[in-house]
């Protein structure tokens, strides 16, 4: 099985993200053992695999949340794992958006506050930030709920707010970890439909971790993580 990515120079050749031979352990427990992966600009990629296979750890390494024990992670031509924590934090705030299964919203704040927050942290004016929040609320069919505290929203509504918050700063990449994991099938489908539609319109790259094949089917390509390694099939093996 090929575990290597087909790439030239890191961060080039159309790839926005590249992981090369990444190892990451937690104590004595290895989570990634030589994981390699490439993600093209504008691609929607699903990372699949059994529980404990290392797929979420890989996503966290790609997003600069975890630093690999060894190996390289490249983003847009720069080596992510070599950046200082300050620079990685800045990158996460400006170039990356995150959608998790739950817990990424501040429940005491309104939907509009939550969506405006990344822009306010980036020193965008209050007026502009809240105008952008209003635009995203409308785009996601939530314009009636801007003033509502997110702790009072349904799971589907909260996840749409989380989507708006991830997208408001117009990131280059959305990292989504089981974004529909806490939702029923129909609501999950609507959230995925919105995510994919907006990503395609905006040209946003999406890296999506899921164990759900129906969620992965929204992606243009999938890779399987098994025992800390990424399984990549050759083009000859894949019927397209």
């Amino acid at each position: 099985m090929s575990t290597a990515s087909r790439s030239a120079a890191p961060g080039h050749g159309g790839y926005l993200i590249e992981a090369r031979d990444v190892y990451r352990s937690f104590g004595q427990t290895p989570a990634l053992v030589g994981a390699s992966l490439t993600v093209a600009r504008g691609e929607i990629l699903a990372i699949m695999g059994p529980s404990g296979s290392g797929k979420s750890t890989l996503l966290h390494c790609l997003a600069g949340i975890f630093t690999p024990d060894s190996g390289e992670v490249w983003f847009d031509g720069q080596r992510l794992d070599g950046l200082s924590e300050t620079k990685r934090t800045e990158l996460r705030r400006t170039a990356f958006g995150f959608v998790f299964q739950f817990g990424q919203l501040v429940p005491e704040l309104s939907a509009a506050d939550n969506i405006a927050l990344p822009l306010l942290l980036d020193k965008v004016s209050r007026k502009t930030a809240y105008q952008s929040a209003a635009d995203w609320l409308k785009r996601l069919g939530l314009d009636e709920l801007g003033a509502r505290r997110t702790g009072e929203l349904s799971g589907g509504q909260a996840q749409r707010v989380a989507l708006a918050r991830a997208l408001v700063a117009r990131p280059k990449v959305i990292f989504a970890d089981e974004p529909t994991g806490s939702l029923d099938s129909l609501t999950g489908e609507k959230v995925m439909d919105l995510l994919v539609s907006i990503a395609r319109e905006e040209g946003t790259t999406v890296v999506l971790v899921t164990h759900d094949a129906r969620v992965a089917a929204y992606a243009g390509r999938e890779v399987i993580v098994r025992d800390g390694k990424v399984t990549v099939l050759s083009e000859a093996e894949v019927v397209r």
């Binding site: 099985m1 094949a213 089917a217 098994r226 894949v238």
Partner: protein
Amino acid sequence: MSVPLTLLGLLEREPSHGYDLKRNYDAYFGRGKPLPFGQVYATLGRLARDGKVVPGEAEPGAGPDRKRYAITSLGMAEVEAWLAEPAEAEPHLQTVLFSKVVLALMLGRPAERYLDVQRAAHLQRMRELTEIKRKGSMVDLLLADHGLFHLEADLRWMDMTSARLGALAEMVRGS
């Protein structure tokens, strides 16, 4: 399920008499529907005619046919191509996939890789159905849902089978 290809796969493991082939087939793939002797010998005759197996000399003993059949390189190539190529992604493939996995393990072939390739074919079909859902009418959507749920069931079976390959290999190779 393809009886000729399954018999060919069993012959790749070792040259066999028709009786042994039937017994092995029934043990692994019959599942309450034994293969008639007539079908075994008719299939072997066609495979011999097509150059995929060769019969040995008749051996003394009781029974209708005491020839030991051996697979040819043409037959082996056919088994390899069948195992490696994903089946068309449609629901209810379990019997075909089961046969491929068991035969691959018997023959020491990369069963996990075959499952990965099949998984990719299933996901590609699921992608097509998902696009139909996103753009089609309510009727299209409901029909696509039906296909998606059945393909998902196959995928879950593949995931469980992948997780059980080690135990299955021990069982198959120990027999």
